[in-house]
């Protein structure tokens, strides 16, 4: 069927053509009388009520009949339903998604300018019925405009866009393009992929097919002879007894290129060049170069490793920050009667740590003053009775306000050592000791490697807790809300974590000397103790640099250096933070935005509180993979994302086939034209009828009268 109606019931209205037929065939009498000089002759003619049996005004009759039929047709909502008219039905408009790569590699040479130019060509080629969406992508994709035909808007967005320092991932862009095209009702779909086709951004596993009928047009901005040398990373080592000397080792990479490159590398500290080295970087390889040690001031410093600029300047500078070395203050409380050697293994293990170093203060648990917990990161209660009285309450307050407590249960940790404060904080007192076989002992059989404390041991080779033997430990039933992180092979808890207020409490039930176990003699003891200390002290290391693309939670990732309290470097309540990006733009972050900062530029971000105070700086470097300018064949990506062949004819025909009759009728809107024709007919009818009506009462022309008059 080629022509049909959406509301065919209205066609019954065609019966209304009986109206003009009735009007034209029936006797129609004027209401007002015709004045006539004399009825002398009319009176003589026998009066007959004669019904008109024939149509006199054929033109009027046809006009009225046609008007009624067309009006009925308009109400019945006609539309054309033919495959050959599919283009007419669904139109020839296009939905275009412009995918423009803005990863760090697009800053190479004139790639960005060429990419913007290609996008502008697409925008300029938009027709009135087309729509386009501009999607800028790097490691994620953002649609910067709604689907629009406004070339000015698209052009303005293009003018504002700049390449970022983040990596390339095609998958999010392809996914977004697919979502946009899926949501489009336009018949033709196009994807214009403008990129340098960097190999590192493409993962064949993530290939997504565009919707049926989509035309994928690649715009290749890559260059076969692209060469790039980059500072791909630095290693920062501290030397000296107090760690005040910094040794910087830079890794310089030439991922692409044909020949070795000799290049100068410069180390800058606080903006001052402190060392320069000449290195030769083989093509497709990397070298490391170590700079002479630099004496650091006792404050946070910023540094850069810079090489001579090439076509991709983003990765020619590598920035970093160096925090002043600060010890994690630990207070170890022992039993007043403890022997001098009991703390040997624990003390030695903590003293070795450099990342971070631990500041130890060892004191009898009974001699600690009430303010002895101030400015401590954590307290180690080593086989000692829980402080009582004021000291006990201060210890509890210390923990609940964010401090750490590591309780080592030993021979003296019986019920007598359990003060009321201990019961409040830790629950029931420990039970009796458990003795295992003196030759084989017990082992740690269950460890929660998903816990941050054991996470680093999960994949480490040569670190094995199962080889340690435990001959005695104290049986203790933790509170219900406690989390058992490690158990012995008989099921008894070995390491338990409790939460008290904002602080952490760890309870170790097997002592720390080599009397109840041989754990201190195993290699795992040292990193285990360090992890325990870092975890219980809530130690968070500030990375010397971040990679572009990272999202920072400034409220959580900028730890407070004042131990024993929560908050950021800006205090317990950060308030509004002012962020200045490397390009100089400023923005404000507060609790409403969640203090989340996306690092999109490379260089140094300066962050300070709105309440003034010194700014803290973050070093941000480009995604290292962006330095590798190796490309993947555009045809490969195009073939991977292009829709599969076949599958039910053209997109236009498919769209036309999927359209509901109501949608087809709405798109064609033939009723509108039919209604216009009706109005035209009615106007013509009015003119003709008016003239006819006037002619009825007018005398005929002299000539016509002469022809008919009686002489």
């Amino acid at each position: 069927m080629s022509f049909t109606f959406l509301a065919p019931l209205f066609l019954f209205g065609a019966l209304a053509i009986a109206i003009p037929v009735f009007v034209h065939l029936t006797h129609r009498e004027r209401k007002e009388a015709m004045l006539f000089p004399s009825l002398m002759f009319l009176r003589r003619v026998p009066y007959r009520t004669v019904r008109r049996q024939r149509i006199r005004n054929w033109l009027l009759f046809l006009l009225r009949t046609l008007a009624i039929l067309l009006l009925v047709a308009a109400f019945a909502r006609p539309f054309v339903d033919r495959a050959s008219l599919a283009t007419t039905v669904v139109g020839d408009s296009r939905e275009i998604v412009i995918l423009l790569d803005r990863s760090a590699s697009m800053a190479y040479g004139d790639r960005w300018d060429r990419g913007v130019g290609a996008a502008r060509e697409v925008v300029d080629g938009l027709r009135a019925e087309d729509r386009a969406t501009l999607v800028l992508f790097a490691d994620r994709a953002d649609a910067l405009t709604q689907p629009t035909n406004d070339q000015a808007t698209l052009g303005a967005v293009l003018s504002e866009a700049r390449p970022l320092s983040v990596g390339t991932r095609y998958a999010p862009a392809v996914q977004l393009a697919r979502d946009l095209l899926d949501a489009s009702e336009l018949p033709n779909r196009e994807v214009v992929l403008i990129t340098d086709f960097q190999r590192v951004g493409w993962s064949a596993d993530a290939a997504l097919r565009m919707p049926e009928g989509t035309v994928v047009t690649p715009v290749d901005l890559s260059a076969a002879d692209a060469a790039n040398v980059a500072v791909s990373g630095v290693q920062l080592d501290r030397t000296g007894s107090d760690g005040s000397r910094l040794v910087v080792t830079a890794r310089i990479t030439a991922a692409t290129g044909d020949s070795a490159t000799q290049i100068g590398a410069t180390l800058e500290i606080e903006g001052q060049v402190v060392a320069t080295r000449q290195v030769v970087v083989p093509a497709g390889n990397a070298v490391t170069t170590m700079f002479a040690p630099v004496q650091l001031p006792s404050r946070k410093v910023v540094g850069r490793v810079r090489i001579e600029a090439d076509a991709l300047p983003h990765d020619d500078v590598f920035g970093f920050t160096v925090e002043p070395r600060a010890e994690v203050p630990l207070l170890i409380l022992h039993h007043p009667n403890a022997r001098p050697g009991e703390l040997l293994y624990l003390r030695q293990a903590l003293a070795i740590g450099t990342t971070p170093p631990f500041g130890l203060e060892i004191a009898p648990a009974t001699a600690i003053p009430p303010n002895g917990f101030d400015d401590r990161a954590a307290v180690v209660l080593y086989d000692a009775p829980f402080p009582r009285g004021v000291a006990g309450r201060r210890l509890r307050d210390f923990v609940e306000s964010g401090g750490g407590l590591f309780v080592v249960l030993g021979p003296r940790s019986g019920e007598a050592a359990w003060s009321p404060e201990a019961a409040t904080l830790l629950g029931d007192s420990p039970g009796p000791t458990v003795d295992r076989d003196t030759r084989r002992g017990g082992t740690l059989s269950v460890l929660d490697y998903r816990h941050p404390l054991f996470e680093s041991f999960g994949a480490a080779r040569g670190v094995d807790f199962s080889s340690a033997r435990f001959f005695r430990y104290r049986r203790w039933t933790p509170p219900e809300d406690a989390v058992v992180l490690a158990r012995f092979d008989d099921g008894a808890p070995a390491l338990v974590e409790l939460t008290a207020g904002e602080g952490r409490v760890l309870v170790w039930t097997a002592g720390a000397a080599n009397i109840w176990s041989d754990l201190p003699l195993h290699p795992v003891f040292l990193p285990f103790v360090h992890e325990l200390a870092r975890y219980v002290a809530t130690y968070r290391e500030s990375p010397p640099w971040h990679v572009a693309g990272t999202v920072l939670d400034l409220a959580g990732d900028l730890p407070l250096r004042n131990w024993g309290a929560s908050g950021t470097v800006f205090g317990p309540e950060p308030g509004e933070l002012i962020v200045e990006t490397p390009s100089g733009s400023r923005s404000a972050l507060d609790g409403g935005t969640g203090y989340r900062l996306e690092l999109q530029e490379h260089g140094f971000y300066a962050i300070r509180s709105a309440d003034a105070g010194p700014a803290t700086q973050l070093a941000v470097n480009p995604e290292p993979a962006e330095s590798d300018l190796g490309t993947v064949e555009p045809d490969l990506i195009t073939a991977a994302i292009a829709p599969t062949e076949g599958g039910g004819g053209s997109r236009v025909a498919q769209l036309a086939a999927t359209l509901t009759p109501a949608e087809k009728e709405r798109r064609q809107a033939l009723w509108w034209y039919v209604l216009m024709a009706v109005l035209l007919l009615l106007f013509t009818e009015a003119v003709v009828a008016g003239r006819r009506s006037g002619a009825f009462m007018k005398p005929r022309s002299a000539e016509a009268r002469d022809a008919t008059a009686v002489r």
């Binding site: 006797h27 129609r28 009498e29 004027r30 007002e32 009388a33 015709m34 004045l35 006539f36 000089p37 004399s38 009825l39 002398m40 002759f41 009319l42 009176r43 003589r44 003619v45 009066y47 007959r48 009520t49 004669v50 008109r52 006199r56 009825f696 009462m697 007018k698 005398p699 005929r700 002299a702 009268r705 008919t708 008059a709 009686v710 002489r711």
Partner: protein, 297 residues
């Protein structure tokens, strides 16, 4: 603007002053007859008479003056003094007009023109308007042209019409032989019309009957069915013109034929005039009658 243009009834209808209208029509008509073969019918020489103060010196015969050294004025046949009376039907049916000019208008134009024309012929002019009775009567007099024109001007068509009674009345009033011009639509039986006119004729009057009809009365061009109302009686009858047209025309045709036949048999000059025709047709018709009357006389 040509004289003929002036004679168009629709143009004349815009002229409010009847005297001006009559003068315009008659002067224009006479001017238009300069080349007419009938030019001399009203200026045939009759006799000379001595010049009297007040006579137009253009009428002095200079040849006689040359021979006799006396002033003589030429008298013509047309300058005889006759009574000229218009009998104007002002019954309700005369109000009808399918165009801008009703039958009464046309009759008024005609009456005014003929009166003015007759007065220029030195006739005494008078008028009688009638319906089923005599409405106004102005006796014929050489000084009554203004009154005649005024009477024509205020004539109003209304009321039932009849010929017999008013013409009988006029027969008794008009003692002196006169030229009577009857302007009417003659909606009477032909025998009745003839009977009334014959009575005038029998009294020695020269009777000229101008039968005035609207074109629509003859052609009956109506299409739309409607109740038709009689202008004189107010009677209404429903009419489907399409079905009645042919019979009406036949009736009208028979009526006109009968009237014309009876007028001819009784030597009464008769003419049928449609109100759409220019007045010069009627004037020409009248002059033709006058010529014949003068020859007879």
């Amino acid at each position: 603007m040509t004289a003929t243009r002036f004679l168009d009834p629709t143009v004349l209808a815009r002229i409010g002053n009847l005297e001006l209208l009559a003068r315009t029509v008659v002067d224009g008509f006479i001017n238009g007859l300069h080349h007419s073969p009938y030019f001399g019918l009203s200026v045939d020489f009759a006799e000379h008479r001595p010049y009297m103060p007040g006579d137009d010196i253009r009428r002095v015969d200079w040849r006689v003056f040359g021979r006799t050294d006396r002033f003589y004025v030429k008298e013509f046949e047309a300058d005889t003094n006759a009574n000229f009376v218009v009998l104007l039907d002002v019954s309700g049916s005369m109000r009808y007009g399918s165009g801008p000019v009703s039958k009464l208008d046309y009759g008024r134009f005609l009456a005014a023109c003929l009166s003015y024309f007759s007065r220029r012929q030195r006739d005494r002019v008078g008028i009688a308007t009638f319906t089923d009775r005599v409405v106004d009567f102005v006796p014929a007099s050489a000084k009554h042209l203004d009154i005649v024109l005024h009477t024509i001007d205020r004539a109003e068509a209304k009321g039932a019409g009849s010929l017999e009674a008013p013409l009988l009345t006029l027969t008794e009033v008009l003692n002196r032989r006169s030229i009577l011009v009857l302007l009417s639509d003659l909606y009477e039986e032909p025998d009745v019309v003839m009977h009334a006119v014959a009575r005038l004729r029998a009294r020695g009057h020269d009777v000229i009957v101008f039968h005035l009809l609207d074109p629509a009365e003859i052609a009956f061009p109506f299409d739309e069915a409607a109740p038709f109302q009689d202008l004189e009686t107010g009677e209404r009858i429903p009419v489907v013109p399409e079905t009645l047209r042919d019979e009406y025309r036949a009736q009208m045709r028979a009526h006109l034929t009968a009237v014309a036949d009876r007028m001819a048999r009784n030597q009464v000059d008769y003419g049928l005039f449609e109100t759409s025709r220019p007045l010069d047709y009627a004037l020409f018709e009248y002059l033709s009658r006058r010529e014949r009357l003068s020859r007879v006389r």
